[in-house]
Symmetry: C2
């Protein structure tokens, strides 16, 4: 009854190799899905001569991805390269009415709108479970499992590299630069770690999640983004004293008709579940109008977790095609009801502020006055013992809720006052 769907795979790297392995091994759970017969028909690779860990029939290999897309034997295109040409391949496949599975978060975060619309127009599907949080089925969960919910807020640890670095720093592994170097040695950070440590990778993933959870159409560039590069061991130590743990969170929250969307280091209560997600693991906390708080935890990267997500999409698409169901892309198309991303300057947050203040009378009063001028109310102050070397005193201030714009103006004003050594540092606080 069910006919076999011909698959064209673009990219035989780590994840592509994992997908081939799963298609070859086909766990029992897949074999029982009789509506989903998948046959690998073509595999596009950059280097035809390269030796491969996964055995693939050489006759399937091609160096021409576009020819693969156009091959009539290929009814489903699985794009796993992250290459700049991916947009061309995917849109060509969709134009031909072929379903596409991709893990390409950068592409979806920037040009998702065009691609989803093209898919709908051509009666094809575009699935992307693997683009966010690796093996955690968060996309399905938001689209299907939580369909009867208005998502109120979403907090994600979406980047394994930064979570690993912060976990290690929290365990006392040393400063940022040193911990990053260890992470690179262990293969948990790229040789050029910018995309991860700057928060951009998490922002791309958040852009994809916000489209589903909040009906935004914004790209990752509209998401406020601050990395972990300036977190210092003493911030982690002071956070601990205050009962907090520092995490890089991707946060989205309804705020009236708009949605806050931001990625930055956050102090979260140490007893919160999100504070206890360690090493390279990912987790997403979703607060839904019906279900309340839910948390999903697992590996956000790696060959087999990511391949698992890709294959889940492939199985679903094959079943849909074989059962004669139309594409499921409809809910990804957002028209007039698009939710705007709020201006970060107007977001109200609590702040941890750390400064090295000159040790002379009246300095705390001056700092307090600067904050008061921006109507930033102080919740607590910790003044540490004087620094042994210089004549400076570490000062930690925790504020009540205040608009981001006011805090930024206050920081600029403090910088002009000539009472601090270096710049005051700020970390935002979330109660969760």
């Amino acid at each position: 009854m069910s006919k076999t769907i011909g698959v064209g795979l673009i990219g035989l790297g780590t994840v592509g190799g994992g997908v081939v392995r799963l298609l070859q091994d086909s766990p029992c759970s897949m074999r029982r899905r009789t509506g989903a017969s998948l046959a690998l028909k073509r595999v596009a690779v950059r280097d035809l001569g390269k030796s491969r860990e996964v055995p693939v029939d050489a006759s399937l290999l091609t160096g021409d991805a576009m020819a693969l897309v156009r091959d009539p034997q290929v009814q489903m295109v699985v794009e796993l390269t992250g290459a700049p040409q991916a947009y061309e391949w995917i849109s060509e496949a969709l134009r031909a009415g072929k379903d596409v599975v991709t893990a390409n978060k950068a592409l979806l975060a920037e040009r998702g709108d065009e691609l989803f619309r093209l898919a709908l127009e051509k009666g094809a599907d575009l699935m992307f479970e693997a683009s966010v949080a690796g093996g955690i089925p968060i996309i399905r969960m938001l689209r299907n499992g939580l369909v009867a919910n208005r998502v109120e807020s979403l907090y994600g640890i979406l980047n394994g590299t930064t979570n690993y670095i912060l976990t290690q720093m929290t365990r006392g592994a040393g400063g940022y630069a040193e911990t990053l170097r260890h992470a690179q040695e262990k293969g948990y950070a790229e040789p050029d770690p910018t995309l991860d440590v700057s928060g951009q990778d998490a922002a791309q993933k958040l852009a994809i999640l916000c489209r589903i959870a909040f009906q935004t159409t914004g790209t990752a560039k509209q998401i406020f983004c601050e990395g972990i590069e300036r977190i210092e061991p003493q911030d982690i130590e002071y956070a601990r004293e205050l009962g907090y743990t520092i995490k890089l969170l991707a946060i989205a929250k309804r705020r009236g008709e708009e949605v806050e969307a931001r990625v930055h280091p956050v102090m979260v209560p140490s007893e919160a579940l999100m504070a206890n997600i360690h090493d390279v693991f990912n987790a997403i906390e979703v607060v839904g109008s019906s279900v309340g708080t839910q948390v999903f935890y697992g590996r956000g990267a790696g060959q087999m977790p990511t391949a698992s997500a890709v294959v889940a999409d492939m199985v679903e698409l094959a079943e849909r095609r074989n059962s004669g169901a139309g594409p499921a892309i409809g809910d990804m198309i957002i028209g007039d009801e698009a939710t705007a991303i709020a201006d970060m300057r107007q977001v109200e947050l609590r702040y941890y502020l750390r400064a090295l203040a000159c040790d002379r009378p009246g300095v705390l009063a001056q700092i307090a006055r600067v904050l008061a001028e921006e109507r930033i109310s102080i919740a607590s102050v910790i003044q540490k013992e004087r620094d042994l070397q210089g004549g400076t005193v570490p000062l930690i201030i925790v504020t009540h809720e205040a608009p981001e714009a006011g805090m930024q103006r206050a920081l600029a004003a403090l910088g002009r006052l000539d009472i601090l050594e270096g710049q005051a540092r700020v970390i935002r606080i979330e109660a969760l």
Copy 2:
């Protein structure tokens, strides 16, 4: 294009009322699923005259559930009563080719096989997300999100009542009976708590999960089940000293060609995520061959979480019907490939054993000999200070892995020795 699916709702209790509310409010996420128009056509209730929290058009109400099932306006039956007649209603609906959504875990755990087969035969679907872990979309996750995995093991906190009682006892609220009474006062435990505290409720849920995750066809009665009634505050205290926390876990693990399936109090390492699931929350840890460890956390009961799960099933069924897709029940039918549930007596576990030993020379040697005769090797012993009142000494023994049958024989032998005050108590240990 999409036609409206007529819904017949049996039961307008807490969850039924929540479903009606969601259909009336219809969050944006549901409205965007244009393939899924649902219209409430009939509502069967026990007492037509009862005043309702949720406003339902009186003309929809009927006292005759079977008439509702047979009503040609009703294309989808949603059964939310847990009544003994549910089997008749559901099977009648399926025989007529109507899709069914139910939250009836007891029915599915005992007669799921018959019902799934009937559904397949009649080209209808039977969905049951709400039957396990309330609002957590665990059924979908296992069937779809993790389809490319062989599930290796599964650990669930599936019963909110017992997790609440154990959490409170861990926080020092007192003994079992006292804590149960408080839970009853707060509405977290039923006036007759047997089904929950005995572990039977969790066993029913585990039977449903095992069918999906391990292809078992066994009923809840085949699952070894021990409740929390005999957990004492000192067990919780000794567990803490040993680095463990006591939880009631539903556990399933592959063991050769079979699967272990059991519900009982477990000592888990206190730093494990599962040890930190508090109060009435549920969580399920799944270890998949591709994804590794994943954890799903949320509310396992309550009006709106459960209604959220019911409505997610309704939306999916309406979309399938409207797109012309056949039923998705195929993967629930298990034939020759059924996995057997292992004999509990052969399961090998580590044990915590607590006894009040008579304080005289040679007693520890006698106990050690009894264990040695069953080839149970001792990992550690803690002997506490002598009890002030009697002449007894609390003795805690942690064993290495040993077969359950051997441990049970050892316990019986210890009972015959006349060196213990009362019976020795055992709690199983899981490393997670």
